[in-house]
């Protein structure tokens, strides 16, 4: 699984290049996110456009990354395909746990407005 990171203001956009976010790939993703968080990242947009298959381990790796943030930031997801979106709905993770956006621009804009002080 490959990742492409880019930083916009204080937001790190992580684009996942692999088609599968499954039990085989989850540890790699988790490790990648832990590295980014330990480097000081607190605001993340995960672009899942290329992900065609996600299982519970893939979801768990997202939740684990969220926990690693420990409430000191936010992680939102964008560009979900139908299958992945359905998985978020079935597991109810779309109900206030992860904010989901249709496009990367919308996700970055939302995160940057919620991060502004005052």
């Amino acid at each position: 699984m490959e990742f492409v990171n880019r930083t916009e203001q204080d937001i790190t956009v992580v684009s996942i290049r692999g088609q599968r976010m499954d039990a085989a790939a989850a540890p790699q993703f988790k490790g990648h996110m832990v590295d980014l968080i330990q480097q000081g990242g607190t605001l993340f947009v995960l672009n899942l456009e290329k992900v065609d298959f996600m299982d519970s381990s893939g979801l768990a790796s997202l939740m684990s990354s969220m926990k690693t943030l420990g409430g000191h930031g936010e992680m939102v997801v964008c560009c979900l395909g139908d299958k992945v979106r359905k998985l978020f709905a079935i597991t109810r993770l779309d109900r206030g746990v992860f904010r989901i956006f249709d496009t990367e621009v919308e996700a970055v804009t939302a995160l940057s407005s919620s991060a502004k002080p005052g």
Partner: protein
């Protein structure tokens, strides 16, 4: 037992092959696209559980999948010879809606997704194989 038999070594990176094979079988049967997606996911979840929990990540086990197609639907058995599932109530657990990061579930989502994908789930422990049985009736009119 008749049917289509598939098997992989107990390595997570091979689970996709089982999922794709089951997807291929289901695509030729009267299931909707969403049902095929869910069945692929269910088989992958069952195989992941066998590898992670029954074989505890050891790569020298065997995960076998037997797919039987009958007049009314599909029966998929996922078998392993590792440690048995001790708490079978997990098969019936529902997921609560997490209200905060701390309430996010650590596990158990795999069995929940399996249950959502099929009509019924059964489990037989050991002697010698552990067997997870998933049944799914056809939803679309057969051609």
């Amino acid at each position: 037992m008749g049917g289509i038999q598939l098997s992989i070594a107990s390595r997570l990176e091979l689970v996709r092959l089982l999922g794709q094979a089951v997807r291929g079988i289901c695509q030729g049967l009267p299931f909707s696209g969403e049902e095929v997606d869910a069945l692929e996911l269910a088989v992958c979840e069952a195989a992941n559980n066998a590898i992670k929990h029954a074989y505890k990540g050891k790569p020298d086990g065997l995960v076998r999948v037997n797919v039987v197609v009958n007049d009314t639907g599909l029966v998929i058995c996922v078998q392993d010879r590792g440690a048995s599932l001790e708490d079978t109530t997990k098969l019936a657990n529902d997921l609560s809606v997490p209200r905060s990061v701390n309430e996010l579930p650590e596990g158990g989502m795999g069995l929940f997704l399996i249950r959502k994908a099929v009509d019924s789930v059964g489990y037989k422990a050991g002697d010698p194989d552990n067997v997870l049985v998933m049944r799914k009736a056809f939803s679309k009119q057969s051609k």
